[in-house]
Amino acid sequence: MEKRLRQGFITSEDLKNLPDKERLKKGWVAVIECPQNIPCDACIYACKTQALEMKTVADLPVINYDKCIGCFQCMHACPGVAIFMVRLTDDGKGMVSLPYEFTDLPKAGETVDLLNRLGEKLGPARVIRTFSMGKDAAKSSYVTVETAPELIWDARFIRRR
């Protein structure tokens, strides 16, 4: 992984202790892709349920999926744009919410291309909604898409068609 870090991407195999299917079916949960010891603890303070832990400011955040209530706050607080929200629906579809800090926000119902961590096309996805969190300078936009369940570990960006 060390080698990939230096090239600017990880793969889904690098993600450790992922939530199981059961947890994913219960609702949204955060996936934290913060594999480098940078001095930053913004997510810890954003979490209202103490689901995230970090000993010193340069540690990696560790998430407890039983405590995570899927509130999106850590995704919004992360300066690295490195937190994504995922879930599975009852009828077995996958859902991903991801930060999208660009002007061409897609519309609900639109079909977009899903991209992986290298910007490669994974396949189509349907936009469920776009939304923003925070006000003024703290405002950021997010997009929720519905896709094949196996893609939730790889879909990290979208491109409008």
Partner: protein, 531 residues
Amino acid sequence: MQGERYSPRIQEHPILSFERGRKIKFFFDGREIEAYEGETITAALYAAGIRQLTESLKYRRPRGFFCAIGKCSSCLAQVDGVSNVKTCVTLVKEGMDVRSQKRKFSLLGSLVSAALKRGLFPSVGGHYKKLVGGPLVWPLARRAIKAMAGFGEFPEPNPTLGKFLPSETWEGDLVVIGGGPAGISAALYGAKLGLKVALVDENSRLGGQLVKQTHRFFGSKEYYAGTRGFEIGRILEKEAASYSNITVLLDTTVFGFYPGNILGAVQKIDFCKEKMVKLRAKRMVFATGAYERTLIFENNDLPGVMGAGGVQTLMNVQGIRPGKNGLIIGAGNVGLILAYQLLQAGVRVEAVIEAMPGVGGYFVHAAKIRRAGVPILTSHTILKALGKGSVEGAVVAKLDDKWNPLPGSEKELECDFICVAVGLHPSFELPYQAGCQLKYVPELGGMVPVHDQWMETSVPGIYIAGDTSGIEEASTAILGGRIAGLSAGLSLVKDREAEKLRSEFVKALEEFRDNPLSAKIREGKKKAQPR
């Protein structure tokens, strides 16, 4: 991002909003150009598609802007009859007459240029030595050189310009030079101890580098982690304004240190209306930040090759896109962040080139652009910029493990501008002038004034903070600034609480640097200690 039709002025931005002033007109070499009040001449020209502002004196190579912050002099033009105006820091005005400082055609000039190009004359700088001989030769030579260089015409005196305003003197306890996160923090903590403080910055607003940063900053919650850079700047600016014992002097450049703890500064009131300001204080904090390094490659002087900070200023302060498709040299944090900011401004990024085998910046900054499809070519370098008059492409090549370009690996990339983001160097000139001992510490970015943990230099009463004390980041600049401000104060007044606070900040700094990625900084800070 992908949808908007290309227009140089950014109308829609996911994070910033640009409030443009009244629409005005001005002239460039006689051509009428549209602009908005509040834009710099460079920015307005750039938006009108004019990249070449002048040409180099000797080889007549086209020159465009590079730094956009008044440091490099590659944007000089004649404005309303005044020569050598830095157009990147001069605001446009209705009816302004801007002229490129190109040489008029003259046979002698053409012959000399041709001779120079063929190497018939002594090399760079040679004319300084060759033509100065004798009181008879020099006046003639000077005239000829000026004519050939395009500075020969003495402009008609403009009666509205050039009036000297009465100078001003400020006296107090502490002068802080530089209004970035480090300087503002130093001023705040000096003021908290009751000092009479002046905070001086050459820009028209406080914030330093922060003003151009749209991304949320890392760090600890206590030091604005998660807040966007420009917002941190605003918060600090507001706090400084709330202290009645802090005088903020904007548009004021400190140009020299004089014996008796005096600083000379010049304050810009309007175009060609400036005021001298003499600052005398018992203590000084230099927090002048850093300047950008450049890189040597063929045609690196072509208009469209710009510093990363210059691009940020044009794009995030002036609201003007630097082009349609950019190439970034350097995958440190600055290069990576710039790539993301370009995407946000609706500009394509062809690639980020990095000579090292891996990215130098944080992984997350790299990941943000990779998932958006921007290639990062590690172990690559740029060989040359292509284009006539302005950048039209670049040739890059792979490097072998001895840093030599691999023959046959050259490839041409398309781009209409190139950003050089190869690192920063502490700006050490003023402390050096004040007699502070310098040391070359590569881990900190180059020459730095030697300083102790209280941020005091080798000259008692002179302190440094922020990037001037080693290239780092905003959180550490804030902490270093606070320590410097408190140290300056504690050398004048006794205060137990403040002493305790200062030790806490020193500890916080240590904690902050206590991670593998800060190993270099820790090493550098050790080297920069006195003795």
